[in-house]
């Protein structure tokens, strides 16, 4: 081959080499050929690292805030507990003081009855001196225990507890944010990994990895911004203060003022579920059942979907006469907490009022069986019964009695009953209610006294009660007319009969009546039978008037039972006699208002 030809060939080779380098890049000093990706990948990684730094900062900020709110909330909760305990000690002392003063007043009255004025004055002076030892007896409380309680600790500790709860809510909010930032950081690391992997592949694979990584970063940025801008829940101090004030007023029974306070709290903080719940309770107390139900719905919407809210809402629906809704809400309450026995009774009552008598009977039976099992378990060392267990049973029975009275046309003013026209099949419902009330009343007494259901009916027959007072009960005299038996409250044979002229028979007595005698004829009573007297005042039992005895009279005859009414409030007094846990007779008299 000619040299020139060889040189040409080599030039061609050299030319191809240069073309090759240009096409495929690389080689010494090949900046011009470096792909776009290589130049920008470093910038991208740095940018993402910066973004990670921002996220870490935000996560740390959220975590710090969460920790601060958690600490503050715990501190307030502990503080509230301590102040409540201290406040309760003060209130307990005030109660003891009231007790001592009451004793001294009884002794002063007795001395006055006997004509010993010096002693009477001495007892009265001592009572005055002792009552001055507690602020309760003086202005502004003047013996109003509920006001004293509210001012000593209830309002303040409620305020602290609400602040603690608000702090807890903020803690959970910021913790949630912190957790989400951690998730974003994790996903950011994944996007970084995708970019890193993109440098190991070419063409389509690289494009896909870059695309996915970039899309992920965009999503994370949008998410981060949205998260940052999410507002924290806000409960102004003024709202909490109004709420605490409302709780204090409700404790005093000032329902109108309490309702106004809760409404003010809601105005300050519309998303205040506790305040909505209390607003519902006050409307319920004021018999505004529509407003009560609406308030409970708002509480649920605000996140307070609890058994207690549903319980009250179900009751409001029942009182409105919307029994189907009441049944639905009660079932929801039981789904949240099936151990709430009173809600089982409310459900059964709503079914009964709706005319679903068979379902109501089944529900009552199931609940009574559950109550029996719980008592047996507690008796054998199982879980303790709540202190309201028997009150709940009695409440269930009272609701049925109220329904019976309503359908008979003589509902009491204090009774909580639905509109009578809303009740389906009134005759059947009344009959079923009467029978179920009797069963509940007897079960309650039997379980309380014997921890077992009532035994077979004993066959005692008690005629209708007759209520009577003597002249000595109505006026204060110096003559002792106390009955001549060792325990003046014991059921006994009367010293004189009703027709002796000593007694005035009636069903309504003046406010200053000290004692009412309950006369009745009896037959078929077993000697040594277990006797219980229960007295309810406006539908609620007064436990101080409960008496348990062993029958010491004969199988048949006439008996008298005194009911002491010292310190008694005006109202409708229903007296019930139980013999061997069987309710054998009831009767009602009224103590008039002063």
């Amino acid at each position: 081959m000619e040299a020139r030809e060889r040189m040409g060939r080599l030039s061609e080779v050299h030319q191809h080499a240069v073309e090759h380098e240009i096409e495929h890049g690389g080689g010494h000093g090949g900046h011009a050929a470096q792909p776009l990706f290589n130049r920008w990948i470093g910038v991208l990684v740095a940018a993402i690292t910066l973004l990670a730094g921002v996220m870490t900062l935000l996560q740390n900020d959220a975590s710090v805030r969460a920790a601060t709110y958690r600490r503050d909330g715990q501190q307030l909760a502990i503080q509230a507990m301590g102040e409540k305990t201290a406040g309760q000690a003060q209130v307990n002392y005030a109660l003891s003081n009231l007790h001592t003063v009451a004793e001294l007043n009884v002794q002063a009255a007795s001395a006055d009855k006997q004509g010993d004025n010096t002693a009477a004055q001495a007892y009265t002076a001592l009572a005055t001196r002792i009552s001055a030892l507690t602020p309760l007896a003086t202005a502004p409380y003047s013996g109003d225990l509920t006001l004293y309680e509210s001012e000593v600790y209830l309002v303040k500790t409620t305020d602290e507890q609400e602040h603690a709860a608000a702090n807890q809510e903020l803690n959970e909010f910021w913790e949630g944010k912190s957790h989400t930032y951690i998730l974003l950081l994790t996903l950011l690391a994944v996007s970084l990994a995708l970019f890193g992997l993109a440098t190991t592949v070419t063409q389509l694979g690289r494009t896909i990895l870059i695309g996915v990584g970039a899309a992920l970063v965009v999503v994370l940025v949008v998410w981060m911004v949205g998260l940052y801008l999410q507002p924290a829940p806000n409960r102004p101090d003024a709202a909490i203060a109004a709420y605490a004030r409302g709780v204090g007023l409700a404790n005093q029974g000032k329902d109108d003022q309490a309702l106004a306070a809760f409404e003010e709290a809601i105005k300050q903080a519309p998303e205040y579920p506790n305040a909505q719940f209390q607003r519902g309770n006050e409307n319920l107390a004021l018999k505004k059942y529509d407003a009560a139900l609406e308030a409970y719905n708002e509480a649920v919407k605000g996140g307070l979907d609890t058994a207690n809210v549903a319980w009250n809402a179900g009751w409001a629906a029942y009182l409105l006469g919307d029994f189907e809704k009441a049944v639905q809400i009660n079932r929801h309450a039981l789904a949240l907490n099936s151990a709430l026995v009173p809600v089982h009774y409310d459900l059964a009552l709503s079914l009964l009022a709706a005319g679903q008598i068979d379902e109501a009977r089944q529900e009552y039976k199931a609940t009574m069986d559950t109550a029996t099992q719980q008592v047996a378990a507690a008796h054998n060392g199982g879980p303790a019964l709540t202190d309201s267990f028997f009150d709940d049973l009695d409440g269930g029975q009272q609701d049925l009695d109220n329904l019976v009275d309503l359908l008979a046309g003589h509902a009491h003013s204090w009774a909580q009953v639905p509109p009578s026209k809303a009740i389906a099949k009134p005759t059947d419902v009344a009959a079923a209610a009467q029978s179920l009330a009797q069963q509940l009343a007897e079960l309650s007494v039997a379980l309380e006294l014997t921890s077992a259901p009532p035994a077979a009916a004993a066959g005692a027959q008690i005629k209708a009660f007759q209520f009577a007072v003597t002249a000595a009960d109505q006026v204060t005299t110096t003559t002792d007319f106390a009955p001549d038996f060792n325990n003046p409250d014991q059921t006994a044979a009367p010293v004189v009969g009703l027709d002796s002229g000593t007694y005035t028979v009636g069903t309504s007595f003046p406010a200053d009546t000290d004692r009412v005698e309950v006369f009745f004829d009896y037959a078929g009573v077993r000697p040594g039978a277990d006797v219980l007297w229960k007295v309810t005042v406006d539908g609620t039992e007064d436990p101080t008037l409960r008496r348990r005895e062993t029958w010491g009279l004969g199988a048949a005859g006439t008996a008298v039972k005194p009911i002491s009414l010292s310190l008694a409030d005006p109202g409708d007094y229903t007296v019930a006699l139980y013999i061997d846990s069987r309710r054998v007779q009831t009767g009602t008299f009224t103590l008039e208002a002063p």
């Binding site: 080599l10 061609e12 592949v201 325990n487």
Partner: protein, 318 residues
Amino acid sequence: MENHDPAGSAPADPAAPGPGGHAADHAPHGPEAPAHGPEAGHGAAADHAPAAGHGAAADHAPAAGHGAAADHATAAGHGAAADHAAAGGHHSDPLKTVLSLLMAIVVVSGAVITWRSTLDGEEALREDTLGLTATVQAQGVQAQANATVYNHYEAYTGYLQHQEVGRLLGQAVTAILSGTVTDPAVQAQLPTLQQDRTDQYEIANTARSFFNPRYLTAAGSYDTKAELAGTLAAAAQGTDLQPARHFEEADKLRGKSTDFLWALLILGGALLCYTLPGALSAGAEGAQARRLQIPFMVLGLLLTLVAIGDALRIELLT
């Protein structure tokens, strides 16, 4: 053109003196030919280096580059670039792809496990807080319930005192009325005794308003235990009084968080297995390189599966 010497031996030296002694004319070109080999090789290697970016692919580039350089150096005409391309500068290695995927899986799994571990740790802290709150509440309820119950007990004590005094006075009244006592001085005290008895019973009755008569037993004593238990049971219906379950949950979550970290450690081992062969097999080619990579890859895969399996076990079964 055929590559007779793929090892990159020097081409036929055009500068080699031939007949006629024109070697001097070609001498400058002589060294250029071999110079193309390394240059082309370097260029070819450089081609692959950015494409690889990370270890494994770059490891393979020089071999391909040398092969391509040899092709290029011996090529005398067109098709050198095609030869170069055909010689394996962009040849797709399935093993590299699999390794890349495995590393991606390790990275993503590690991120997820770290996230779960952190969350469980935070949740444990939250449970601790709830447990402390329940402790405070339980103690508060205990203190208040005891204060109330013993306040009632104090009132019952007064009730018992006056009831018993009334009973004793009643016995004296009965003795006089039945004629057992005949002393006139004692008999003269009858109205006073009767009044005193009535007073004692009335004071006792007053005391009944300051305790819960429901807790009076048949024997006449006061069941403080039942009242305390009932008060606490009622409080428990609406308030969390059980810190133990929160603390148990917190301990469980902390254990989970720690267990996740062990899985993370295993993943770290897997990552090491994926990257180690690349460093160890520098210079090795083809089957020799594979003999080193595959065992490590298999080991890494096993460790990856163990770590992910363990993480799933922790998440789903604990």
